[in-house]
Amino acid sequence: MNGGDEMDDDGVGVDGAAVDGAGVDGAAVDGGEIDGAAADQDVVVDSVSVRSGGHRETADLNGRTLPEDQYRSLSRRSFLTGGTAVVGAAVGWRWLHQRPADDRIPDVLRAGHQANERIWRTIFRDGAEAPTFDFAQSSAMRVNGRHGIESPLDVETWELRVVGPEGELLGTYDLDDLRTLPQTEMTVEHKCIEGWSHIVTWGGVVFSDFVERFHPDQADAPFVGLSTPDNEYRVGLERDAMMHSQTMLTLDLQREPLTEDHGAPVRLTTPLKYGIKQIKRIGTIEFATEQPEDDFWTTRGYDWYAAL
């Protein structure tokens, strides 16, 4: 902005801010114009004040003055700009609300979610871990949501199916298979997208241990999709989150086997995602090259990435 040196001297940048305020609305160009007008006036005013005894003057806090008529036109211009900005904002707001929906939210907001996702996936730090706590600080968590687990669990027939990118069955596992893998315990703050959080202790198998033991050739799959046996509740996660050291196939809550409400016999837990991604009662794990479709809460308006 011009006149910057002057401002430094008397420290009155703020009136410049007010000028900009007018500009807002119209952007820097306006502010520049006004400043320019003001600068010119220093010269003009001298002559004006000589000949106009009865005229009122205007001043800003730099002591720069403007004759009244110029001030009037400046005001008019400022208010026209301001008025245009208000109308523009109103039109923009209306436009936003009338955009076609993409999974239940305006498509531009969905695009915004995806832009945010790209930013955060780019700067993702694999070494960043959620803080952990002592077991004594944790307690049983409330039950929140029964989508996909409404039918009674049949432990006898339950099995964990693992499927490859082409839909081919790569293997089936039961609880004993999971129990024989190295067991890990983790006390973390579970966070719900609704806003609440709860310190809880999970126990089970780190997902990357599971992959390394049973499906090392899938370790580079870009996405993993998980679904309940009835296929009602489905989630997808990107590789970075799935292969993180704190992402687990969880069997225990507070050192007791999961109850049905909490996702028995095995659920996903990870402090890298909100609870909506931590699917209960996993029936199928699918390694995928594309982002899995029909993510339960994404189709209901939420951000697919849902990261923490």
Partner: protein
């Protein structure tokens, strides 16, 4: 920059309340007594503004518009830094000494108006505080948004729940500031509002050019008629954040 804040902050608070109200069973997760909360936001308030059961949309607006707020704040901070305008928001010892006089005058206890430059001591303090609140709102927002990836930042705020607590009360602070600010601007009158928009102020016949509080001599100058008169009217002229 000041004027961008009004619509953006409005969207942020509105969508933020939608997020807050997602958790109906435990709306006091930040540890505030329920009694207090229900007095602040009665049910009709939430119903009228459609704040309940709108979590997905609330999040979509909040996490996208948040960037406008953050970037606008950053630009304004750079601007204040480059122009030296930040001095208007940091009261000096001399400014702080004027605060009792401003308050006495404000509450009609004392007639004589306090010295008034661009901003008086109370204005400097409250506008400065609002700038700081903006900073804390953004930082605590990021701490809540990515508490795992930005775990060190969240730790600075004392953890996730504590960051939420701070974020929440900064918001309430914004609302209180907004109401007082509007009231004061309205009281200060049209001329003052014009000066907010144009950056120039129309002076009465025979009045002198106002000085800035940054200049020590203005503070010391006692009772310059036009400056003193204007103390009543120039509640706020400049930008906050």
């Amino acid at each position: 920059m000041h004027w961008i804040n009004f619509p953006v902050l409005t969207v942020m608070i509105w969508s933020g309340l939608r997020i807050y109200w997602a958790d109906r069973r435990d709306p006091f997760g930040v540890g505030i007594g329920s009694w207090h909360w229900f007095n602040l936001f009665p049910d009709w308030f939430n119903e009228t503004l459609g704040l309940e059961r709108r979590l997905a949309r609330g999040l979509a607006f909040h996490t996208n518009f948040g960037w406008f707020f953050a970037i606008n704040g950053l630009v304004f901070a750079l601007y204040l830094w480059r122009t030296g305008g930040w001095r208007n928001f940091v009261p000096t010892a001399a400014d702080i000494r004027t605060i009792p006089a401003v308050l006495l005058h404000e509450f009609k206890i004392r007639k004589e108006p306090p010295p008034q430059g661009k901003y008086n001591g109370v204005q400097q303090l409250s506008y400065g505080a609002v700038l700081l609140m903006g900073f804390f709102a953004v930082m605590s927002g990021f701490a809540i948004y990515r508490p795992t990836q930005l775990a060190p930042l969240t730790a600075v705020f004392g953890g996730y729940e504590s960051a939420r607590f701070i974020h929440f009360w900064v918001t309430i602070g914004f609302m209180v500031f907004f109401v007082v600010h509007l009231f004061q601007v309205a009281r200060a009158g049209v001329g003052n509002f014009l000066s907010m928009v144009t950056g120039f102020e129309l002076l009465g016949p025979g009045s002198s050019v106002p000085g800035s509080l940054v200049e020590e001599d203005v503070v010391a100058r006692d009772g310059v008629a036009s400056v003193a008169e204007r103390a009543d009217t120039s509640e706020s002229e400049g930008a906050t954040s």
